[in-house]
């Protein structure tokens, strides 16, 4: 899996910049990123966007459901995603551009699975940002 993703990341590096298939992305912070550690509730493998529903404990320990928007399953599948990659109960770490108004939702930057596999918005994990 990791080998295939590494190969894909080389082939697709230039075409995986987040771009929303059918609506404005103005509701998301363009630069700010938030890291969430939580448990998958549902993975919607649908058009026009796939969605990750993930329960994340807040500062008080109360579980908050976040809605994380991905690319289309069409583009994601060509970038190494599968609909079976995320299952309810999976522990994940998600990096997201959160919504500007504080809503518990955002656009996916990356998701890391328990086995260390990391996937990005539309396919391979995004390249590390220059320091």
């Amino acid at each position: 899996m990791k080998t295939r993703l590494a190969a894909l990341s080389l082939a697709l590096a230039a075409i995986t910049a987040p771009a929303f298939a059918h609506h404005s992305g103005a509701m998301f912070e363009p630069v700010k990123e938030v890291t969430l550690k939580g448990v998958i509730k549902e993975f919607q493998w649908t058009n026009p966007h796939a969605w990750i529903q993930v329960n994340v404990p807040d500062a008080s320990g109360k579980l908050v459901e976040w809605s994380i928007e991905c690319a289309s399953p069409n583009t994601m599948s060509r970038g190494g995603w599968k609909k079976s990659i995320l299952k309810p109960g999976d522990q994940v770490t998600i990096v997201t551009h959160p919504m500007k108004d504080g809503t518990s939702a955002g656009s996916l930057v990356s998701v890391t699975l328990a086995d260390g596999t990391t996937l990005g918005f539309a396919g391979p994990a995004p390249a590390p940002k220059p320091q």
Partner: protein, 271 residues
């Protein structure tokens, strides 16, 4: 004998006449003479409509390369500036968000999903997975219909020809501002827009699309822009794109894009 030959010749001409009339115009090339644009393609990075050919031909055009400013007339400059304010305030709706109308031409080339460029002698079809959208380009020698037989449509009327391995076509009759946008960076045109497009394979897995946009209402001079497309691996599939399947981003009457939860309830805190 001679009379018999004349009769035979006349009969032959009569027999061949319908077939001769049905021959395509002389501008239609043989299929074998056309370039191979098969496979699935995706847009390379770079700004929508705002890259010069030089920027587009860089090995990896930057996602945020410097934007060209459309050479707008005062009227459309004011519309553009208002659009920029609407974008900043999240009040610049994308018409395709309602999942009911096509992206239109040339906007359909500005989506993040895959494309096919189906080359045939008498037509070329540009197919976008996103939408999906279809643009038909007639290359059988026909011209645009007379003005009184046309009405504005999303993809307009597209006729062209081949210059060697380059497809050249002219597009008119597209719906303008109010019905379509050219991208989410605020660029719009009027319904007097005409576009001349040239598509050529510049590398084995790379197509260069250059356009010159002319619009007597919106632009003070022709505006050249360019895109490139990269070919995906040969085993790539194209899939359904059903925009209304799970659209969790409806748009309000004042142009704000909302976010819904899995039950269809609005979750935006700003609402």
């Amino acid at each position: 004998m001679i009379r018999a030959l004349h009769l035979a010749t006349f009969a032959l001409v009569l027999a061949l006449a319908p077939a001769a009339c049905a021959q395509p115009a002389k501008t239609v090339p043989a299929f074998s003479a056309l370039p191979d644009w098969s496979g699935a393609w995706v847009r390379a990075t770079g700004n929508f409509y705002e890259s010069t050919p030089e920027q587009a031909l860089q090995p990896a055009p930057p996602a945020n390369s410097p934007r060209q400013h459309p050479p707008y007339t005062p009227k459309f400059e004011a519309i553009y500036q208002d659009n920029l304010k609407r974008i900043a305030a999240d009040r610049y709706p994308d018409p395709v968000s309602v999942c009911g109308t096509p992206a239109g031409w040339p906007r359909m080339l500005a989506t993040p999903d895959a494309y096919e460029f189906v080359v045939r002698p008498e037509q070329t079809w540009l197919l976008s997975e996103n939408g999906p959208n279809v643009v038909r380009i007639y290359t059988d020698g026909r011209d645009h219909p007379p003005a009184d037989e046309m009405w504005t449509t999303f993809t307009g009327n597209n006729v062209g020809h081949w210059e060697g391995d380059t497809l050249v076509f002219h597009s008119i009759g597209m719906k303008g501002v109010g019905s379509t946008i050219l991208g989410r960076a605020g660029v719009v045109m009027s319904d007097h827009l005409e576009v001349t497009t040239r598509i050529r394979k510049v590398e084995p897995d790379r197509l260069l699309v250059t356009m010159v946009l002319k619009d007597p209402e919106a632009l003070t001079k022709p505006w050249p822009v360019a895109f490139t497309f990269k070919r995906l691996p040969p085993d790539s599939f194209i899939y359904d794109y059903a925009c209304a399947e799970n659209n969790r981003n409806p748009v309000t009457a004042d142009g704000r894009t909302l976010t819904l939860d899995t039950k269809g309830e609005v979750i935006d805190k700003g609402q």
